[in-house]
Point group: C2
Chain length 214, copies 2
Amino acid sequence: MDQLLRVQNFTVSRDGFGAGEGQSQERPFGHADPMDLMAWAVATASFPNRTGPGGSRGLDDYFTRDFAHGIGAEIMGRNKFGPQRGPWQDHEWQGWWGAEPPFHTPVFVMTHHPRPSFTLADTTFHFVDGDPATVLGLAREAAQGRDVRLGGGATTVRQFLDADLVDTLHVAVAPVELGSGTRLWSSPDELLDRYHRNVVPSPSGVVHHLFWRR
Amino acid sequence: MDQLLRVQNFTVSRDGFGAGEGQSQERPFGHADPMDLMAWAVATASFPNRTGPGGSRGLDDYFTRDFAHGIGAEIMGRNKFGPQRGPWQDHEWQGWWGAEPPFHTPVFVMTHHPRPSFTLADTTFHFVDGDPATVLGLAREAAQGRDVRLGGGATTVRQFLDADLVDTLHVAVAPVELGSGTRLWSSPDELLDRYHRNVVPSPSGVVHHLFWRR
């Protein structure tokens, strides 16, 4: 089996932004309301951060259910880990993901400012300064034959797309306009020269775009 | 987590038949052409019986990819195992599923004519005479906390629906009319009093119906 690099459940606004402007520790999505983007996923039975019972088991649930399936490592940009820019002031803060992060695999955080690895529950965060191909090599090795998830944000997905390293992308387009922020694309049609695509509207209001290599 | 009874990737004709008339060893789907029903699944990268590389990774692939995910046992009707009716003439023939069946779990074959269990690769077939609730109890125990797949055919799915034992159903409606055969429903709307539903047309031509309990 191929060992794929997969973007999963990545949500953008109708105008192509994965997050708004003005990210801070209190506002990981900047001026965007996270629920405007993530409500479709939060409502499903298989949402990775779900703590209680219930939730829908329709179309959207197939996407959240697939989040960890066959995945052995995640790659994320530094600002999916935390809001800091530049050198770390300290290593005390351990990211937005709580004491039990939803990844359950090694996570490779891309940053020009490495810091020591650490483990929270069954997730180990590694901080690596390297180009996309190098970081993907590390993540592939850690995944031990399973696929690698490219977790975002938009800037990081964009870097891997530009390096032509992404095998499949699932992007949910949410029914909201952000106007500014970190941009994934001007239009999803940009990828059609390299990828097949299915466009699947969901009753929840998002439109799932599923891309796989030609 | 709940231990669900799930129907997955079960395909029927537009007029509600899971198979045609006149089943035989050579024609498991009777007068129906299996490819008219199953082409959508066979084309995907994750089709359980795929032997070579390739295949699509769009919407339909999410369904075939989910086939084994979280499943610990399967229940099937006798005529998904083989074409025989009445008492077994011998036990030599070991079903339609080849030396490496795609189930990889215990399989409970419902029949009024039990025969000894046997194992092919990592699939063990058990033959049980019991009502749906009894067979589900056995399958749940064998699944060790994982979900149970209700594999079909249409008559068997119907029995479990009538006993109100099915938690989720994914039925793909294929663009073909069979006219006669084993019937799942007169209309998918029959289930709306008990289930939520998403209706999701696929570019492949099938329409996925996703039901989960109200």
